[in-house]
């Protein structure tokens, strides 16, 4: 059954408050929690146990694919499809092939970094329930938020609200779907 709301959103005034609250929320055993802040706070990601990102491995793969595509393209064009004998020089003149292959490596790796980041974050995502919270627009200005989602096994509308209020939240609101 789908819960009646998305979760409970607590608002905090300072970065230190939200990080302290995140640590307590994790201690209390909640698992479906996300923080919202106007700039990246490493301590907040750590507190919420977002340690591992598969992005570096994806980018490495993208780079290797780019390298192979670059060399493959050059080999195919210069040796197989359109061989030109210029003064008996080798068709596969690999030292001259390094610069374009280097560029395709960078291009594919960078493209993977951008598209991979968007894919991992599920963006573009035009609608999300958290935008229904009054005052959430300040998450891109100067306020810090912590949201415990209703799908969390420990979630309980009244108890969780009380718990969030005890953490020094300036406001706790229901997040509607």
């Amino acid at each position: 059954m789908k819960p009646s709301m998305y979760g409970l959103m607590a608002e905090f005034r300072t970065p230190a408050d939200v990080v302290a609250a995140a640590l307590r929320v994790k201690e209390a055993g909640y698992s479906k929690v996300d923080g919202y802040s106007p700039y990246p706070i490493e301590e907040l990601s750590e507190a919420l146990h977002f340690h591992h990102s598969p992005l570096p491995a994806m980018v490495l793969t993208g780079g290797i694919v780019g390298l192979l595509v670059g060399i493959g393209l050059e080999y195919w064009a210069s040796v197989i499809e359109y061989p030109l004998n210029i003064g008996g020089r080798p068709l596969f003149s690999w030292p001259a092939f390094i610069p374009p292959a280097f560029e395709t490596t960078i291009l594919f790796a960078a493209g993977t970094a951008v598209l991979g980041m968007l894919a991992l974050n599920g963006l573009p995502e035009p609608y999300h329930p958290v935008f229904n919270v009054p005052g959430f627009a300040l998450a891109t200005r100067d306020k810090f938020f912590l949201c415990i989602e209703a799908t969390d096994p420990r979630f309980d509308a009244a108890g969780t609200r009380e718990f969030l209020e005890s953490l020094g939240a300036s406001q706790v609101s229901e997040v509607e779907h």
Partner: protein, 462 residues
């Protein structure tokens, strides 16, 4: 290091990165208001009108070029590369400072990059657009040039020659343009979300909302975002070095005296950064004045940029010395003649003007009082831009105009269409910059928040 910067109390006006008294809200408001205010300042219209008029010159020059052919330019044998390649190298070099500031200084944890990286990256994009324009039009008929520039299966069954540095250039410049655009856009996403949330009119909310792609500042998102941003910086760093290296190989792989030198790649890269920082100063000084951004682009930023200019200027000066030394040391008649001709021949004026602009002028920046004088920095940044243009003029024209055979010597001068195209790309560059400062935040808002004293959690001991 961080604690030194964040401790407001012991700082003089000269070494702070952000004026005291700002918090997350004021930083956000001050930068986003420039974009979101309803009334566009009159000065913006004046500047935009001038730039846009100059842009029309580019359209006229190009229409005429396509109608008549590239004979309307001054290029002819023996000087087959003239203004077009001079301007190409000049523009692409200018672009390099943007990537240096956004990528290399990020990896080196130089916090002072934060208030200048956004518009420096925009400058990179627009400079690359201006640069790309010249080689494309130098082909004369760009629409039929694609089969030997780009590898694609065409009906003639032709493929580009990957052994040619000109093809390396196509790969390097297109990759550079694409990666710079991605880096810039990724950096903009959180700020676009800020604009979305702060825009008053529904229309702008939707426009910024589309480009912000639903960014909500989630900690999970920030984690992947930071990883992606650092990886992009790590990829852009070798890329920027490779781009100007490849540009220099366009020359260095040729046998023309004055081009065939191993010093070219490092000295071109240093020259690019040098020219780029000059352009960043040229843009930053009026920008901070006009929009009252002295709180964010402080004297410390200007002074640091002046120091980078001085350092790279000295590398460039070393490059000139090595060129002259190697010409003598090689014992090669043609090389020795080339350097003598450069210093005393028909184009000696350009060589000595170059030495004045690029070697003598930047050395004034050793003096702290000159380095911290805003009008002086503005003037010197213009001098360096002229100097770097002259450098490419000297390399291209003086090397080509008298090579091995005296029977094929010649003299070169740009025609009015060369000048119109050059002034026209200046118009294109400034038109794009004016649009950029009007519609997008010229300073990265979210990165500015991270260097505020309020963001320094660990130093306060929570």
């Amino acid at each position: 290091m961080a604690s030194v910067i964040r401790d407001d109390t012991h700082q003089t006006e000269h070494d702070r990165l952000i004026a005291p008294g700002h918090d997350f809200g004021t930083v956000t408001d001050k930068i986003s208001t420039i974009v979101l205010q309803r009334k566009t300042p009159l000065g913006w219209f004046v500047g935009f009108a001038i730039a846009f008029s100059l842009l029309q010159l580019l359209f006229v020059a190009m229409a005429f070029l396509l109608f008549k052919g590239i004979g309307v330019w001054g290029v002819t044998i023996p000087i087959g590369w003239g203004f077009d390649i001079i301007n190409f190298v000049w523009w692409i070099g200018i672009g390099h400072a943007g990537t240096l500031i956004s990528a290399i200084l990020l990896l080196l944890r130089q916090e002072w990059r934060t208030s200048i990286n956004r518009f420096a990256e925009a400058m990179t994009l627009f400079a690359v657009a201006c640069a790309a324009f010249y080689p494309i039009f130098h082909t004369g008929r760009p629409w039929v040039a694609f089969y030997w520039l780009m590898p694609y299966p065409n009906t003639m069954g032709l493929w580009p020659n990957f052994r040619s540095p000109l093809i390396w250039d196509v790969f390097a410049v297109t990759t550079y343009a694409a990666v710079s655009a991605m880096f810039w856009f990724v950096g903009l996403i959180p700020d676009l979300a800020t604009l979305r949330d702060r825009a008053k009119s529904k229309g702008w909310k939707i426009v910024y909302g589309i480009f912000a792609m639903g960014w909500r500042g989630s900690a999970r998102h920030w984690h992947n975002y930071e990883t992606a941003y650092l990886l992009l910086a790590g990829l852009a760093t070798p890329l920027v070095v490779s781009v100007h290296t490849v540009v220099s190989l366009d020359f260095a792989t040729g046998i023309v005296p004055g081009w065939h030198a191993t010093i070219f790649p490092p000295y071109f890269v240093a020259g690019a950064i040098y020219a780029g920082f000059a352009m960043v100063l040229t843009l930053a000084i009026p920008l901070r004045k006009f929009y009252n951004l002295e709180d964010f682009i402080t004297m410390k930023h200007l002074e640091n940029m002046a120091k980078v200019m001085l350092a790279t200027g000295l590398v460039v000066a070393y490059g000139y010395m090595v060129e002259a030394f190697m010409a003598w040391y090689s014992g090669n008649t043609y090389e020795m003649f080339m350097i003598k001709n450069r210093m005393t021949g028909p184009y000696a004026w350009s060589y000595w003007a170059l030495i004045l602009c690029n070697v003598v002028a930047p050395n004034t920046l050793w003096a702290k009082n000159l380095r911290t004088s805003v009008p002086f920095l503005f003037a010197i940044s213009l001098v360096v831009s002229v100097g770097m243009w002259l450098e490419r003029f000297v390399i291209i024209v003086t090397s080509l105009h008298r090579d091995f055979l005296p029977s094929s010597w010649g003299i070169y001068a740009g025609t009015q269409y060369d000048w119109a195209a050059f002034v026209g790309t200046l118009g294109l560059f400034f038109t794009l910059l004016f649009l950029f400062v009007r519609f997008l935040p010229a300073i990265s808002i979210f990165e500015m928040r991270t260097i505020l004293p309020a963001a320094a959690m660990e130093e306060e001991g929570k």
